[in-house]
Symmetry: D2
Subunit: 325 residues, 4 copies
């Protein structure tokens, strides 16, 4: 497959899939899948367990959970509530997997991305809908919340470098040093390889956000190395990389050639190319002006709006309302 | 050229260009170009004079002015003011060309598009920055404005069908019937074929906005037929149709084949395809999921922000401050 | 009471209350109250039945329902859902009271107010959260909605005169003539007399929106007279008129004088003033710069945000999801 | 004057004025005024030179410049440019007064306030319109800017405590520690005592932002003590404290009593009250529900919009375009 080399994806699931399609076993990478028929939610767990696996996957060692639910962007309050509850459960799993299990924790939610660009506004929107509690717990104590245990939730929208003149990691690191949270949850819009992932996918990873991810291309990662505390990354694909289209066109073209009478031969020659050769070819075909461009659906506003509510609600369930039940 | 058949553009200039590149004279279509070296502004006038020309161009009979200025999205207040003044001049030209030259006119500006989707928010943003005057002139008379003559400027952001449940033309027609403007200026975000047009192009046409135009695909046009009064359309390309990428990839691919040793033959065969054959091929290659998607640059927020100010300022110069000078 | 004459309120309930406090029976005005203890929702029905009652109340003949629920602005999804359901029930009641009971109706929701001024943004926000259906029913028929009956919901945010140069009624009348809805529901932010009404009150009236109402002072009413079809007004107090403070200060001052040794006499004299005399006094005390100013709480953003969701949800329940249950 | 004790103002000028009106010399406080007739700009310099003066004024030792220009909120680009240039000059003066005069400085602009509440959105809006340069200078060097000297401008919108769960000073202190700016410029919306100050006043102070200032009441100050580097505060009154209205009503009431036949005596008694007595009286009259409320004009959106542009432009002139001229 050509796309193996050339097309960027922020989803571990998609990275794994392309090996699947080649029937290649990736050493050090384990995949588990679970489908809840009633709720129509599919959860895939990709565990990258070794540095070797990490190298092949182009993603750090850690656990990547992918929730897929059809019509995540359709307005249906009850369904969204269900997804929020599932999401809360899996975020909790990742927290516990990382033996991060103390009570009354302080969590900082970081809403990454650019509020002014619709497909990149997911992170800021999630923060807009959160119920922060750190200032109340700090001032009145946890009993003010009517709870025996109370996590402290704080949140920030750091903005993007073109607006702040600062790297996001500089801002977040400063805030971490001052306010000493135990854990960061960073929410970001992602780029998918396959446009079918849009509108239906949420990825949660205990590896944070790594460099080069997201619609606006964060230059430096947010993770335990850069921030000193665990970082759980929640990502939602809202765009497709423009190079995807080039790749898909190529693949379709080769297929078309193969089924043509006169050009069948050329198709077969191209099909026989090694991955490296195809990579070079696609690189050549990608017009330079495609850099810095993204592909997004026309109803991106509804998608971002609905999914950001679902994620905020999951975080509110997990950290604000936990003890009420 | 493949693009002749397959790729949508809202710019008359680009429609004309592809015939140029084939050295085809289009009967009934006249092109004039003027370049102001000092201001670095290029103005192209495409006049579609006959129904035959209209058919070939896929655009109605009328005059299409295209202003091209480099770095329209770079923040430089003085430069933008200059462009606004040029723009005002050309809007005025179109008004006069249409023998629409009476004094104290009433103009309704319609800001088309979806405020929530960044590349489609140009029209609403232009209206946000306008200085409307109709209500003041109506209440206090033109002398309240300190002027001998006073145009009445009104403005509306009708929203898109997914938000209103109504066709834009229904809303505008209703408002026209109630408030009786003499002229409509409709501002919309457009799709270009060539991504180099983004950030630097403004099109003004005396044919209004025709169906299927814009980022969000207006289903029915705004023009003299549908509204009963002249409509000047101001359009700014903010996205590129996803199909453009497919087409460019194809062209690059054929060139690559031609210069290859083993596949040279296939390249030559493809090159020799008739336009119709190429069209069929590209149609086949366009993945169905590309429908309803658009390609836009990552800094689309700055582009839309700067250019909408430039257009508002042009309209303010033309209709609000005209008599002050 | 001084406030009887001087202080503006858009709430029929408050208008009625001041007569109550004077033990005055207002002929032609009937008040009923109902309190649902479990849901903590109080509903008051003010029926103005005669022109005489209308004159005394300063509001047109019709039914005014007021829903009061504590903490309408506190984020609690379940509670808001309950209020939405009650609200839907009472809107339905007003529709039926007006013998407006046919099936498959077409409703136009008008979101009044200025999107850019937080306490005035309620109407536009309600429209933002609506699920419009008119275009879908028109294109695919009601069976596309999976329903036997389908109302058609459309919506518009007309903007305010300072942004459009047009009276709101001109825009809405035009849209009504073009799209022929059976019924209008107009949503607006209101001014209350008592700041305790903020955050907890929603008024529904079958008399539409009358002139001079709202944060931004609509100059002309939206009602059956001006639009030709029934108009149900939904109003939420988000500001208090600045004059309220003057009045409250006066009242408190007179009380303070009465309980003072040296100034007791003056207090008694003031207390004995006729309503007319007090009115003149308060008018004198209102500093002219207070005109055009309003008083609003610092957390107005949360209030407007929460309540607008509750109202949208009520309208979605009533007109979109009705047949699904 | 009653207002001496009871009414909050964030403007040093207003604090000084009330002593003026009592013909009281405040030791340690110097006032200079300058009026530019042509530009219609009045500049007042209040210098609090001693701790004693600071105590009386309720504001820290330092220099407070107030620029007053009529119609700051009227859209007139040329006039705003003029004010921006003046403003730049006076910000520069304060920088130099503080012997802060090195070249190639790094400035962090902090946009205080709540983006969601119109009169509090001034700070965030100013940051939205800034041209930040720190990341460019850091990556490409100052020659990339085409300049011999290049300041590095960075900016942040920290949000308010109800949205972040953190004190603003915590966030800013963290960012300062990470990015090491030489100087902070903090922009905030202020409360004035006199509503005539709205729409026409900008205050610049070399004392930063002190606790309890602004529409949303910052709980902790941003200044050299809390942040370790100089802080210049730019403040614009966008609201009037609700207590102002109570006070004004009282004053008007006493005047009305004095000119009445029957109540003249009471008026005189009240007039003869000591300041302390009057203070107690007003405190009693202020209804408790007024806490947490503010008074703002209906066209607050235009005011905030225009003035935020003027301030951004001043900062762009000073730190971005300085070397181009």
């Amino acid at each position: 497959m050509l796309d193996k080399y050339s097309i960027r994806t922020d989803l571990a699931l998609e990275e794994k899939e392309r090996f699947e399609s080649d029937n290649v076993e990736v050493q050090g990478v384990i995949l588990e899948e679970h489908y809840d028929e009633e709720k129509e939610i599919r959860v895939t767990r990709v565990r990258i367990e070794t540095e070797k696996g990490a190298k092949v996957m182009g993603k750090p060692v850690g656990t990547y959970l992918t929730l897929e639910a059809p019509n995540l962007s359709v307005p249906d309050e009850d369904y969204h509530r269900e997804v929020s509850e599932e999401l809360a459960k899996y975020i909790q799993e990742l927290i516990e997997t990382n033996k991060f299990n103390k009570k009354d924790v302080s969590i900082l939610v970081v809403g990454l991305g650019n509020r002014q660009v619709t497909p990149d506004a997911l992170g800021p929107n999630v923060v807009d809908h959160l119920t922060v509690t750190r200032h109340i717990v700090k001032e009145y104590g946890k009993y003010a919340m009517g709870m025996e245990h109370a996590d402290m939730l704080s949140a920030i929208v750091p903005g993007v470098m073109g607006q702040t003149g600062m790297e996001t990691v500089e801002i977040v690191r400063g805030v971490v040093q001052e306010t000493k949270p135990d854990l960061i949850i960073a929410v970001d819009a992602l780029a998918a390889r396959n446009s079918k992932r849009l509108n239906r996918t949420i990825q949660i990873a205990d590896t944070g956000i790594h460099p080069g991810t997201g619609v606006g291309n964060n230059r430096s990662g947010l993770n335990k190395e850069s921030l000193g505390i665990p970082v759980i990354g929640i990502g939602v694909p809202t765009v497709v990389d423009a190079a995807t289209i080039v790749n898909d066109t190529m693949e379709n073209f080769i297929t078309a050639l193969e089924s043509s009478k006169t050009l069948k031969k050329a198709g077969e020659v191209l099909r026989s190319y090694t991955a490296g050769e195809k990579y070079e070819l696609v690189k050549e075909l990608i017009a330079p002006h495609l850099n810095g461009m993204f592909v997004t659906p026309k109803d991106v506003d509804e998608m971002v709006n609905q999914i950001s509510y679902t994620i905020s609600e999951a975080l509110n369930i997990l950290f604000v309302k936990r003890e009420e039940a």
